[in-house]
Symmetry: C2
Subunit: 204 residues, 2 copies
């Protein structure tokens, strides 16, 4: 007569915990093996862990790569990618600036667009809640709509302003009464991309 450890486990409760465990591990960059799940929950059999995992897959809460180690993943990728954080961008040197970036930022993104982070200098956009020292996350694109906040290369330095289309030309508007709009000639201004996110770190 064998002893079976089958404490009163309400249906689904253990599975819920397994799901949370696996999700956390995946988000922390290393999905667990079936045996790691087994050990984490003190199952006596690998199969028990496997059954929970396969059930989660059947329910659509996880997806897996059959036969591969650590093959369980979250469905619909959370799509977190790391974009380079640039200190400043000088004329023409976006490529160079990306090579010499200060670090990387985790960013949520659906596509695999080319993006970068840029540290804000100056007070010209405080009216839009963008303060010196903030970081803007920029999606690289040469075109933008009127009203978008963009990063543009004017002269030999990148600047953050609100874009206004005026007939054929463009204007770059600060969001601070102490500054005046820039009306660059087309050939001396390049739109590097659109600001899609603003971040401010209050410590560290």
């Amino acid at each position: 007569m064998r002893i079976f450890m089958t404490p009163f486990t309400p249906p689904g409760e253990t599975r819920e915990k397994v799901y949370r465990f696996v999700r956390r591990r995946i988000l922390e960059e290393l999905p667990p093996t079936v045996r790691e799940v087994q050990e984490a929950f003190r199952f006596r059999a690998v199969q028990t862990a496997r059954e929970h995992l396969e059930r989660l897959v059947a329910e659509g809460r996880l997806v897996k790569a059959h036969g591969k180690s650590r093959g369980y993943r979250l469905p619909r990728e959370p799509g977190t990618l790391f974009v380079p954080l640039l200190g400043r961008v000088q004329a023409g040197g976006l490529r160079a600036a990306i090579e010499e970036c200060e670090g990387y930022l985790p960013v949520q993104s659906r596509g695999s667009e080319e993006m970068f982070g840029l540290r804000v200098q100056g007070e010209s956009m405080t009216g839009a809640g963008i303060l010196p020292g903030d970081i803007v996350v920029v999606r690289q694109q040469a075109e933008a709509a009127s009203g978008d906040i963009v990063v543009a290369l004017v002269g030999d330095e990148a600047t953050i302003k609100r874009l206004r289309l005026r007939g054929n030309g463009i204007e770059l508007h600060p969001e601070n009464p102490a500054f005046t709009p820039i009306v660059p000639r087309a050939e001396e201004c390049t739109v590097l991309g659109k600001v899609v996110e603003v971040r401010r770190y209050l410590e560290g």
Copy 2:
């Protein structure tokens, strides 16, 4: 006589590519196996991939968990963790709010502190560049220093204000002249945590 495919590969060039490949894979959440590296570079022998990887470890550019599958990691963890994004927090229900969160935010963090994200309502902190709809990232802590921006539970709703210590008591200061400071009694106010980051998503 065997034929060896040894094209002119400048020293370190292949290794650099291997490093980039592995780093990308790690950041995308599933570190490669040695054989996956082998296949990605069309090496005829696993050992070739292994030598590059071990070399990268020796150089300190990667670290590994010996004997574990997919055991290569980036040194000094980028320490990205995912924190729950809460819509609103009502009296006492921080735990409940975390259970029913709207989603997860990738956040850079050194420790494994308890954190959460909270969507900003109202204009009381616009002077600090915190606008309605912004997201604040909060580290849970019951104590905070004078001058910190905190999330506090006053009455039955969470609010974001700048904390001021006044003798024995506390004051919660808005950063907008149209609002007046709150001077709560100690028993009707709980500091949930300190705002460590502000985010604004400009699209989506």
